[in-house]
Amino acid sequence: MSLLQLKDVSMEYGGRVFALQHINLTVEGGDWLAVMGPSGSGKTTLMNVIGCMDKATSGSVILDGIELTQVSPKELTRLRRDKIGMVFQQFHLIPYLTAVENIMVAQYYHSMPDRQEAMGALARVGLEDRADHLPSQLSGGEQQRVCIARALINYPVLILADEPTGNLDEANEKLVMKIFHELNDEGHTIITVTHSQEVGAEAKRAVVIEHGHMMGEGGVQL
């Protein structure tokens, strides 16, 4: 069975705005998919649906064998913390917590906080020596690496990254993409949302969304 399967998924707001229309998509375990498209194309809406933050208005979304359109909001929250690891364009670290505490927050909501394990995740992204720094004391690249460490800490079945290099310089972009490659090589399933050709090209597969429609798969020019 595929890790993620979207069948005829549509998302509409108030019967007027059609953010997603009849999307069909399959992601296997260990895959790395890039969802590409211009601003306002529906990429983020697709991320919300896959990331258990929103429910599709029609169609079927099956993640790790669970039909997401049928579960309660409470169950959706549980699935989010158990199955998904999120990486955001704007990092979204909690400003009053240190790097290691930011990772432990994800553990806290999931199960039990474990500083040693959180330090291990930081070491995994090469930041163990920055563990006790506040986000404001870290560079953009370092903040994104903390964000990746946080996404990994609860052993998610799927890592969702929304424009993970959108706010990074070239050097940090390469560093982050290297980490994604390592994770994917280890067997992690990754979906990245990006409008960047370079970042999209790093993934094993790429799909393009435009005006809520899936335009195709492969190296499509935007």
């Binding site: 983020t44 929250t77 979204h92 400003p95 009053y96 432990m104 927050v105 909501y109």
Partner: protein
Amino acid sequence: MKKYQMYLIMVVNALLRRKLRMFIALLAVAVGATIISGMVTVYREVPAQMGREFRAYGANLLLLPADGKGTVSEDRLPEVYKSLEGYEVIGHVPFLYERMKINEQPVLTGGTNFEELQKVSPYWQVTGDFPSPESKDILLGSEVAEHLSVKPGQTVFLNTGDSPQDMPFTVSGIVRTGGREEQFAYMNLGVMQKMMNQKNQVSLVQVSMVAGEEALTDIGKRISAADPGIHPRTVQQIARSEQTVLGKLQGLILLVTAVVLLLTLVCVATTMTAVVTERRKEIGLKKALGADSFHIGGEFLGEACILGALGGLLGTVMGYIFAQSVGLHVFGRGVDFSMSIAVLTVVLSVAVTGAASLIPVRTAVKVEPAVVLRGE
């Protein structure tokens, strides 16, 4: 690490590492707590403080012989005074009244203890001096002095009516009270008891003590039980006036406290709403990480409770200083620190801050996790 330890790290750091917002919110709680603590302290102290002020108007309890007897023995009084234990007694002054002739004129004369009299009736205005202890001095009421045409330092002659010869007394002073005392004359109790051959006898004891009307009634019952030969009588006019003034004053303080409590509630609710609004993304992020409404609500309520407790502690200290200042400047006497008021203030601050946070917390738990992805 235990879950509660991480919870504390999150809640405490949310306050400590956001100093400005923390300071503003703490200030709002502390100001409210200061006024509440101060007002409750003043509210509690007012009866005692005002009671002392009222004592300047004279005795509020009279001890009279029961069954219409003219006098009662002083030896029985110490036992009666035991019934006053636990109350602040300003003084108790005995009187022995007899009709005498002064310079051939009939004058109602009282023997008393002038040291105690000055405590119980500080409003007596004496031209000259009070009679010195054990002396054959006499204090004349202003009407008597005028009628006899005598002045302080002059000698008057007293006759009990039974003695064959007059006894000379020196007028030590003339008293004005604005009351019936101006028609009387006063001498040392011991001298009078000897003259009248009524050793240890008194006709009346005036007691001045810090107690309200209800307490005085209760004390009266205890005295009657302790010695049925003594009839206690509350000076209703003073006791009721005291009760009325106190009731109105306490009502006013309660009203002010309630208004301050309400304002604190609004102030803290506004601050917490601002806190929630500016932390929407953080709430969204936490939800995206898997936090449920219970987690989010618990964290904000935890912050509010810590804020309430800190503000309450600060307010307790400031409130005590405020009440102390009121006590010293208005009543000329400090107030005691009350642990029960301190606990009440902290508990009330936590409760008010918690209650004020309920609406913002409801808003917080409704934040959609998708806001962090939308970049709103």
